[in-house]
Symmetry: C2
């Protein structure tokens, strides 16, 4: 392999695939990046930790084709520190070494035989559809914080992707709270398809999808999902198992509907949580005619009380909930107003954007005196 | 105690004194901030972890005078999150509670009886002199990274402050490297005075001294040093014991003098250190007629070689040193060029600013083949 490549392009490409490099692995080659130089096409980079894999092509002037694997961290560190100039990159297969030269810098980096590197799996017999990448990122942001971190219940550590005729939705829950994000989509489905995407996959997609309104292709079979966007190919295993029946827990009838300014509400909860977090993190929402009081008491440190103006339709209510669950959603949503829907002190609290209709967030209450 | 105070002023003051709050202490009151409301003067804040103490006055409208102590972290968190508005602050001594009200926020925070709080010590029988605060900060920056972290040699964890007729200097060493920063000063001393300032004191002073060219007053006796600048009173204990004789290790005769661009040199060392840090962190400097090569080899990962243009007076030389010790000083200095002075491979390498004469930095070499 022999090529010249721009430092910025090379480093950018390595940063993209690096997200799928195995951080801890007994197989050293999985801590590497697979490089394939193809004439007239450039340099292909692949990382694959067997749960998740990323492929990305970088512009390069290929003098001699070839394949090789280099340790990801060391390659990335070197490329980051090199000056913004042309890099000459050569692999000496006889001793498994890559020579990386750039202006007055000369590096030799030892690598691995590339044929041992696990290529990305083919996603065969798959359902294929297109969707706006930015909208998908928005859906991910709206639900990902609700996944569980409890590894004994693997299905809850991921997000459920549901495709049905004309609709796409994403659901995540740790059983104490649930986030549900839904959008319209053009598809020719005649039945519902459900798969569970790992939480790390949601996080990495969220990082990799840029700010451009690009179309994204999604390929889906029973074992894998493949996203193609912005010249990035991203493959992930799916989580096997049964996701809880989320539909039956989403309430439809309410006793009270509260309209409230999202940022004002967030700031008030943030302040009360300064006291709440010293104990159990529980805050009390007291919904009255024109205002909501948010309060918490710590026997050791003191207490906090905040008043926020609201518009209430229906009954006055009191409910105890975890402050973090509330702050997570208020930080994520972007709407100016949110709608809080209540049934009673033992029923979940529902939050929706106001006036939009594509998002539902539930928080299970803490029993009074619990 | 009863007063009104601006949220920004109060939070700013708490942030300043908070640096001297005990983070871990068996005495809960040392994790607190002492508050004293004095009519026509404002609100005095004190923190004191017994090693170091800070006093700062905040503008406030005092309705009723008084003293009280509140837990620093909780107070600081609450003040940070409150809106930028006027705070009403009242202490109810009967139940040791402070009421902090601001717009729609009401906090009650439990505190401590203030008479148990250790006041800042008087610095009696002290030497007093003035010095430019910014220049002192520059001196601290030039030496503080050279202090030792080895607690078994307490004197090396601090910086030696030396006052002599017309001169002030600061020295730090961990025995493998040494930094010495010197300035002129107007004083009426007739003998040399030496004290050791703790490393944390140097760090906190470095943070607290702002960007204004203010005059700083320094009071010094055998146990304490007190700095007064920018309305901040900062008191620190001194470290007792004997600081090594730094003068005898500073070389005066050299075989080679190298002039080199500081940033170019730093970037080259940074890149070579990417390989060096995978092993022992040692790099080799090879000083030739017009250029210096900087190199390192790792048997497991590969090697790195960098070439930088230099101006050499004297002999060609080769020396092995720790890359971090070199990067620390190259990152800290601000001059465009630096001067490297060499004697031989077993003698310390000296770095000075070029063309300035107020700074000396030594690195002990690593024996070839060690």
């Amino acid at each position: 392999m022999n090529l010249t490549i721009n430092q910025k392009d090379f480093y950018h490409g390595v940063q993209i695939v690096q997200r799928a490099v195995a951080s801890r692995s007994t197989l050293p080659i999985l801590k590497g990046i697979y490089l394939e130089a193809v004439k007239d096409k450039g340099l292909k980079l692949i990382a694959n930790n067997l749960e998740m894999g990323i492929e990305y092509w970088v512009k390069a002037n290929i003098i001699e084709e070839g394949i090789f694997v280099l340790p990801a961290n060391e390659l990335s560190n070197i490329l980051r520190e090199l000056p913004a100039a042309e890099i000459s990159f050569q692999v000496d297969k006889s001793n498994y070494q890559a020579k990386i030269n750039c202006l007055n810098s000369r590096f030799t980096l030892k690598g691995y035989q590339a044929d041992e590197f696990p290529q990305l799996p083919e996603v065969e017999g798959a359902l294929s559809f297109n969707f706006n990448a930015l909208t998908f990122r928005e859906m991910i942001e709206e639900v990902k914080f609700s996944t569980s971190t409890d590894q004994t219940q693997p299905t809850l550590t991921g997000g459920l992707l549901v495709l049905s005729p004309g609709e796409i939705s994403l659901v995540a829950t740790n059983t104490y709270r649930l986030a549900y994000s839904k959008r319209e989509i053009n598809n020719d489905l005649d039945k519902e398809v459900k798969v569970i995407l790992p939480g790390t996959t949601l996080n990495e997609l969220n990082h990799l999808i840029g700010d451009e309104e690009d179309e994204m292709n999604i390929l889906l079979n029973e074992s894998y999902v493949r996203f193609t966007f912005n010249e990035i190919v991203f493959i992930s295993r799916l989580i096997e198992g049964q996701f809880p029946n989320y539909k039956q827990v989403i309430p439809v009838d309410f006793k009270s509907s509260v309209k409230i300014d999202r940022v004002e509400f967030l700031n008030a909860v943030k302040r009360v949580s300064l006291i709440a977090r010293l104990d159990s993190n529980v805050i009390t929402l007291n919904v009255n005619k024109d205002q909501m009081s948010i309060s918490s008491t710590s026997t050791e440190y003191g207490d906090a009380l905040e008043l926020v103006e609201i518009e209430l339709e229906g009954e006055e209510q009191t409910i105890n909930i975890d402050a973090n669950y509330l702050m997570d959603v208020l930080r994520t949503l972007k709407s100016e107003l949110v709608n809080i829907l209540l049934i009673g002190p033992l029923n979940p609290l529902t939050i929706r954007k106001y006036p939009e209709d594509n998002y539902i967030y539930l928080i299970m209450p803490v029993r009074p005196g619990a």
